[in-house]
Structure formats: C-alpha cells, structure tokens
Symmetry: C2
Subunit: 212 residues, 2 copies
DNA sequence: GTCTATAGACTGATAGAC
DNA sequence: GTCTATCAGTCTATAGAC
C-alpha cells in the first residue's frame, strides 16, 4: 500500500515534470521533491533514471498500440477481411496524432510526455521503439490482404513513410508553423490525418492508376 | 598556429568519438584524452560542451545546405527559371541522403556524426535546426514559381513531408530493415531518393491528375 | 592570447542503518 | 520499504603560468 503510493507518486511527478520541461532538464532530485519521497526510492522501485523513463513510455505506448490494433480490427471486419487501404493507414497513425496534436491548451501530461519522447528520443526510449517491429508487421499483413499482388517492399516503404510523416509532424510542428507562417493549420488533427493518409494511399496506388 | 592545433585536435577527436559512440556516451574527458589536450581547453575554445557540438553541426550543415542550393540553382537554370518539381525535391533531400546512407563501411566520420545528430537530437542541435526556416523558404519559393496556381499550404506540407521521409529513413533505417526482413534495400541511395521524390511529387500533383 | 591546474556544484547510484 | 550519508563521475569556472 505504502509502496504503491510511493511508486505511483514518483510516476505521476516524473510524467508531469518530463512533460513540462523535457528529460534533460529534470533531475531525479526534482522528481523526488515534487513527489515528496526520498531520493533513493526511485532507484529502489525502478532501478535507474532510464528505467523510470522506459516504464512511463511503455505504459503510454501500450495504450496507443491497443487503439491502433483495435481500429485495424474494426476496419478489417467492416471490409469482410480486407480493410480499405485508407482505413489501415488511419489506424496506424490516427491514435498517435490524435493524442499528440490538437489544441495545445487541452493536452494532458501523458500527451505532452509522448511528444517529448518523440522529440528528445533518449536511449531507453530508442531501445523500446526498436522492439515495435512485430507490431508493425501486423499492418503489413493487413495491407498484403488488401493488395495481394502488390510488391512486398512497397508495403513496408508505405508504412515507413506514413510513420515518418506522422512522427515528423509531431516532432517538428513548430518549424512547419514558422515556415508556412501559419498557412498550415496544425490544430486540425482530422485534416492532418486525412492528408497523411491521402499521401500514403496515393504513394502505393497512384502510379498504377496514373498508368491506367 | 598552436591555437589552431589545439582547436582542430578537439574538433577532430570530438567528431570521431561522437560519430562512433553518440553524444550521451562521450564525455569531455574522453575527448580531451583522445585529442591529448587539457580539459579546460574545450571551454576556452568553445565555451561549453553544447557549443562544441553546435560548432560541429553548423560546419557540416553548411556544406549540405550549400549543395542543396547549388542543385536547386542548376535545376532552375535548366528549366529557364522554373525547375521541374522532381528536381526541386531531389535538391532538397538528395545531399542529405547521399551523405548519410549508402555502404556503411565507407561512411566518413562526418557522415556518421550527422546521422547521430539526426537520431539523438540534443538541445544545441534542435536550436540550430529551428533557424533553418529561411533556407527552406527558398525551396518553397522555387515550387511557387513552378506551380504558381497551387495552394500555398500544400507546398509547405510537401516540403515538410519530403524532409520527414528523408529524415526518418536516415534515423530509423535499422527498423525498416528489420521490419521488411531485408526486402527494402537501404544501400541503394539513388533508388531511395527517387522513391521519396516520386511520392512527394505525386502528393502535390497526383490528385489533380487523377481527376483529369 | 593560449593553455594548465585546480576547485566547485551538480548529477545518478549505492551501502547500510532503521 | 524507507532513509541518511556518501560515492564516483559529470560539466563548468577561475586563477595564474607560459
């Protein structure tokens, strides 16, 4: 009970501080002060600063991944086993973008934390991301069912590019806003998702359609 | 002379070590040991660890940006003031990708350093990237000359997405290789550039052509 | 100006008492 | 499970030698 309280207090304080100020600027002493626990408690419960960050990232990432697979499942059922290509891409990038973009004022600590994780990309987080491969292969499999005759490598490039566009939009929305002088609306999440999905679908099917 | 030697020795050692082991794992003590200079010399010549990293990044980045603008200029001259869209995108992403991808064995320390900068993205580097906006606006201007009637925001989204795909390919080539089980050839730099350029051009012109 | 030796403040991690 | 005390390691700052 008391153990749980300490553990939870650390997690909450860490997420809040990391979300607000980033990983580099927040020390373990900042966290234990905010959580009102002892310094050594972090190492006792999590092992190290990196493992604390990893724990937070895994927890939040699992939620997103579950949403993605859920949307994919719905899309496949709606299509009788073969999901629309656009629906597959939407399932892949929608949950992340909806969580990370949108009106700045109403972003939760969890969302802000995930944005930091995208931007700063510290070692513990990179390690976890490298183990996401199996998860992504499910989307490749869904695409293969929809486009059984399509070149295999193209499908993987399609996933790679869709994630790239989504990720970079979360990461660097500031630069895009500055560069376009406000012409690109970064609060219109649905519009951004549709835009990335549109490009991704076109990249896979466009050349063929243009030839026809 | 002697001043130059110390300064240069620090820069060379830092670039080599950062390229090999990343920013987080290399301390200033590692650098001064490799360069055989005194610890305080780094602060004397560069001010801080962050400013040393920034100096390296700016130097290498200027070379890439010059290549980009040079390619853009050639493309505009070839088209009599209006460059082909594909040539604009190639000028934008080609230099970076040629520098960072390709056979792993023959990558220079400079190339490996820039890959690290893409992946780890420490604070001093992020600051510099945010000031690249003016440079990117030149590509937007070139696109406006080629597509004068096109929606303004679309052009910025096009640049944003092209950079996203290029950047992510440098950043996460490992994951793509694993996910595709080798089906995506990451040593074929020209092919990758062509692929990203193709998607980018299609994203801007595809919908219009499909309607026609 | 260039460089060195040294000291300082801060970090994450840990051993051992409670 | 919690805490105090302390560790070795980090970057930075400065006084002074060359």
């Amino acid at each position: 009970m008391a153990a749980d309280h300490t553990r939870t207090a650390i997690l909450e304080a860490a997420e809040r501080l990391y979300a607000a100020r980033g990983f580099a600027d927040v020390t373990m002493r900042d966290i234990v002060a905010a959580a009102d626990v002892n310094l050594a408690a972090v190492n006792y419960h999590f092992g190290s600063k990196d493992e604390l960050i990893a724990e937070l990232f895994v927890t939040r990432g699992l939620v997103t991944n579950r949403e993605r697979l859920n949307e994919l499942k719905i899309a496949e059922e709606a299509g009788g086993g073969r999901a629309e290509l656009a629906a597959i891409f939407t399932a892949l990038i929608g949950p992340t973008l909806r969580g990370c973009l949108g009106p700045e004022k109403q972003r939760s600590d969890a969302a802000r934390f995930m944005i930091r994780a995208s931007i700063e990309s510290v070692p513990p987080i990179r390690k976890i991301k490298n183990r996401e491969v199996d998860h992504l292969r499910r989307f490749a499999a869904a695409m293969r069912r929809t486009l059984p005759d399509h070149d295999e490598a193209d499908l993987f490039w399609g996933i790679h590019f869709a994630l790239a566009m989504a990720h970079q939009t979360v990461r660097d929305s500031e630069r895009l806003g500055k560069m376009s002088d406000g012409a690109c609306d970064l609060t219109d999440v649905a519009g951004i998702v549709a835009r990335i999905v549109g490009v991704s679908v076109l990249a896979l099917t466009g050349r063929a359609k243009l030839r026809a």
